[in-house]
Amino acid sequence: MEKRRVMIVDDEEHFLKITKINLEKTDKYEVETMSSAADIISRVKSFNPDIILLDILMPKMDGVETCKMLNEDPAVSRIPIITLSALDTDKDKLMMYKLGVVDFLVKPIEKDELIAKIEKALQFK
């Protein structure tokens, strides 16, 4: 079975490392990580992910700005995005849906929940 490509954008190096190992262990995913969203468009175009896991609270360029930028580029705007954040108020959730994300995960994230949400999002792709 062809592996699904997952791109994770988060400033937390340990989170990136743990999530990459956990996803790759399943043998279903090929994972690419980015610690900042600075050159996300070119990286997305070159890696061509099936799904993007995007942290909201990041230095310099945050997840909201990144999401808007991805939505504006027709070449990448159809890629489903799951946001990762510690923000979990109703206002935050509404904001994330308005950004067009397919789902969101509240940190700290459990491995099984992460995989379940990725699978669900990929079903509709």
């Binding site: 340990h14 989170f15 262990k25 510690a86 700290p108």
Partner: protein, 426 residues
């Protein structure tokens, strides 16, 4: 007229209380005169006098009604003037200098002016009381007013003049005592309010920093948990496991440091002066605010001068000041911006200069003038996270230093602190 500044609101409270006290004292005086009349004391025009006192007492009450309609500072002068006129008439009807007990009422007005108002109000009360008392006694003595005296004895002019001088001197001495003692009480009250405000602002800053630190600590714990689970996985190699154990230790230490610095910041600052490494204090403040600054558009640059000697200071108080400056700059920078923290040492003057210069929104000329006011803030309720500049000014003044502010709206602000070296607290 709606008053919003705390000084006037405080004055209004005292004003209303003083109005009630005055009402009661006039009522008691009326009762006293009524008793005097009943038991055959003064009989001359007593009914008219009681009516006058009651009228004054009643007239005094609606002042509270006028408070929100006229200028309170002007109103208190009208009130004092009417009080003094009423007291003077009572004094006259009761026999002028033969009724010294009534002149105590003048002292009550002066005392009230000292407690509820300013030194100028005290001077006004003293001057008006002396003028009216002296005029009544002199006019009666020289026959311009009909005599209310019950005795035929007429004192010599010299005695009358010395009585007036003596009374005026007493009134002025009492006025001096009243204004000075009330100034001490007011300054103590203000100090208490400022301490309370400082503690409240520090609590707000601590809460703000704690929220972001907690977020970081939760992330660290979650990562440590993730590594722990992976360590149980037999498919992970030994080299990777060793790396994960090192990472867990780092996460543990990072969390401890974050909690330790917020714990240190939240405690009451030590006011003891000791040799303080200014660069370490700045580093600590930057580290403490890092969970907030890291996610902002503000970059922090340090330009530390060479050979900066330790300065005699309270390190924890200076850290509060630096945290406050960093948070203020963070609030002022909405787009990409920079905060430059610079230290310099002048060997000739033995002065250490610390500068916080940001590229934020800046401060307007009107607001620059008001920066030292304890309750002044350009931020809405719950928006400000710093300690407030009045508090930071106070801390630096205790270090025999001063804060100089330069700012251009839209270009940023520069705060320069100059704490003197090798000096104790003031």
């Amino acid at each position: 007229m709606k008053y919003t500044d705390p000084d006037t609101i405080e004055l209004l409270k005292k004003y209303k209380l003083a109005g009630r006290i005055r009402f009661l004292s006039f009522l008691l005086l009326s009762l006293f005169l009524l008793l005097m009349k009943t038991f055959g004391g003064y009989s001359y025009l007593n009914t008219a006098l009681i009516a006058l006192i009651l009228m004054e007492a009643i007239v005094n009450q609606p002042y509270a009604f006028f408070i929100n309609r006229v200028n309170i500072y002007r109103l208190q002068y009208y009130q004092m003037a009417t009080d003094i006129i009423a007291i003077s008439w009572i004094l006259y009807y009761m026999g002028g200098v033969e009724a010294p007990i009534v002149s105590i009422a003048y002292y009550m007005v002066i005392l009230w002016a000292g407690i509820a108002s300013t030194a100028q109000a005290v001077f006004f009360a003293v001057f008006t009381s002396s003028l009216f008392f002296s005029s009544i006694v002199a006019f009666e003595y020289f026959g311009y007013l009909p005599s209310t005296s019950h005795y035929t004895y007429k004192m010599p002019v010299a005695q009358m003049i010395s009585l007036l001088i003596g009374n005026t001197s007493f009134l002025f001495a009492f006025g001096y005592f009243s204004s000075h003692s009330s100034a001490v009480i007011k300054s103590l009250q203000r100090k208490r309010q400022e301490d309370l405000l400082r503690n409240t602002r520090k609590l707000i800053a601590t809460g703000y920093l704690m929220g972001r630190t907690a977020h970081d600590v939760i992330n660290n714990i979650a990562s440590a948990k993730g590594y722990s689970r992976l360590l149980l996985d037999p498919s992970i190699g030994d080299a990777d496991k060793r790396e994960m154990l090192t990472a867990i230790e780092k996460l543990h230490n990072r969390s401890l440091d974050a909690v330790d610095s917020i714990d240190r910041f939240s405690q009451e600052s030590s006011r003891e002066f000791e040799p303080t490494d200014i660069h370490k204090t700045i580093e600590d403040a930057i580290e403490l605010t890092n969970p907030i600054v890291r996610y902002s558009k503000m970059a922090v640059e340090k330009i530390f001068g060479p050979d900066i000697p330790p300065i005699m200071a309270s390190g924890s108080e200076l850290e509060e000041v630096f945290v406050s400056f960093i948070l203020n700059s963070h609030d002022a920078i909405s787009e990409e911006g920079k905060l430059i923290v610079r230290t310099e040492h002048s060997k000739e003057d033995n002065i250490v200069k610390i500068t916080f210069s940001d590229t934020g929104s800046g401060i307007s000329r009107e607001n620059l003038k008001r920066l030292g006011e304890p309750f002044f803030s350009t931020k809405g309720c719950g928006e400000g996270t710093g300690l407030g500049l009045a508090t930071t000014y106070g801390i630096i003044a205790r270090h025999h230093g001063k804060i100089n502010v330069e700012s251009t709206v839209g270009k940023g602000a520069t705060f320069t602190i100059q704490p003197m070296q090798n000096s104790g607290p003031s």
